[in-house]
């Protein structure tokens, strides 16, 4: 049997300069926000950016960036809506807020369909928002997203998050991903994530202090305002340490 989607995925990936997978072990540590704001920062710096939300059970990229338009059907595939220069694709743009009760095989199918059918066009960066853990979405993304690619791991100082992030780093490395580094989110003072990074032999990219003002700008029509937060500036510095070309936005 030939899976025609393999050819479509290969065709799409030829147009992608670099794929950045944003993951981590635990839920609620800010992976989706890091992925979304990273996309905005890269776009604001002049890069052509796509954001692919692969958190299939809890997609949040459209909510964070205030996107609700359905992707457009074209002869090239389904074209994602764009906000602040970021082309955003998420299963939620098709499921429209409905629950997503998916088992393993279905998740692999959905990841493959999204990669095959989504026409991002030429991209400098494809940022991928992964769900917590090291399950189907990470494995499928690593299997299908070949080419130049790397992983960014987000954790908090919680021992549970650090433990899960350690496992995520091990899996990402063994899947052949270049690890760009570890970011400690919601940090207060000197946290333990640097020790995790050093112990795993990867770069510690920095701490993002808790930003109480974020809640007010996450949501509708707030994508640009996200860039004005202290969260965005701390993240920008971390991305510079990772070697990504992001400019000051303030």
């Amino acid at each position: 049997m030939i899976d025609y989607r393999d050819e479509l995925i290969a065709r799409r990936l030829r147009e992608v300069g670099y794929t950045l997978l944003v993951g981590g072990g635990k839920g609620g540590v800010g992976k989706s926000l890091v992925a979304a704001v990273t996309s905005l920062l890269l776009a604001r710096s002049g890069h052509v950016v796509g954001l692919l939300d692969l958190d299939l059970h809890g997609p949040s990229s459209p909510t964070i960036l205030g996107v609700s338009d359905k992707p457009a059907e074209t002869s090239e595939g389904i074209v994602p809506p764009e906000v602040e220069g970021v082309r955003v694709m998420s299963i939620d743009l098709l499921a429209a807020g409905r629950p997503l009760p998916l088992h393993g095989a279905a998740k692999d199918e959905i990841v493959k369909e999204l990669l095959a059918l989504t026409s991002f066009g030429r991209l400098d960066y494809l940022v991928v928002d992964l769900p917590p853990g090291t399950g189907d979405e990470l494995l499928s993304a690593a299997r299908y997203l070949r080419g130049r690619r790397g992983g960014l791991v987000v954790t908090t100082s919680s021992p549970l998050s650090l433990s899960a992030s350690r496992r995520a780093l091990m899996i990402m490395s063994s899947l052949g991903l270049e690890i760009l580094g570890v970011i400690e989110n919601m940090a207060s003072g000197e946290g333990p994530a640097e020790g995790l990074a050093v112990g795993m032999g990867v770069r510690f990219l920095g701490r993002i202090p808790y930003d109480g003002g974020l809640a007010g700008v996450v949501g509708k029509t707030s994508a640009g305002r996200l860039l004005g937060t202290s969260f965005a500036e701390s993240l920008r510095l971390a991305l510079v340490r990772a070697g990504l070309l992001v400019k000051e936005t303030r």
Binding site: M1, I2, D3, Y4, R5, D6, E7, L8, R11, E73, T74, S75, E76, G77, I78, I91, L94, A95, A96, R98, P99, L100, P101, L102, H103, A105, A106, E109, I110, E113, L114, A116, L117
Partner: protein, 138 residues
């Protein structure tokens, strides 16, 4: 729902042409199974494949396009549903989302027997290319 057929047909033709190139022969025939849940226009797929095959060096290939019937099983009670049972009552928008991502059936439909959401697609999901027959190179 026409442009999606175009994307699928071009992917199928390119895949088969690439396969033929990798084995160094000419494709004599292949079958395309179109899953019911994808709700693709099978007549249009057939037409597009014929046109595109001619432009991809597959003009000699005999192409058969068939519907693969859908079966959806409930993981909770084991009941099995047909395509028409699964999509009964769904809105046009919900059907269109399933047109792109057939596994979204579990988001939009519920088991007809127990009402549960644990629906698993057994068959008739997407598009498969099978029985590719390649002749020896001349």
């Amino acid at each position: 729902m026409v442009l999606h057929e175009y994307v699928v047909a071009s992917g199928v033709v390119d895949s088969v042409a690439k396969f033929a190139g990798s084995v160094g022969g000419r494709v004599k025939s292949f079958r395309v199974l179109v899953g019911e849940l994808s709700m693709l226009d099978i007549g249009l797929i057939r037409e597009l494949l014929g046109e595109m095959a001619r432009g991809a060096g597959l003009s000699e290939a005999s192409i058969s396009v068939e519907i693969e019937r859908a079966a959806i099983r409930c993981g909770s009670c084991g009941a099995e549903m047909s395509f028409s049972e699964a999509v009964e009552g769904l809105t046009e928008e919900e059907r269109e989302s399933m047109h792109f991502i057939p596994d979204l059936v579990s988001s939009f439909a519920r088991c007809k027997k127990c009402g549960g959401p644990d629906l698993r697609v057994v068959s008739g999901r997407g598009v498969k290319v099978v029985d590719v027959v390649v002749g020896r190179p001349e």
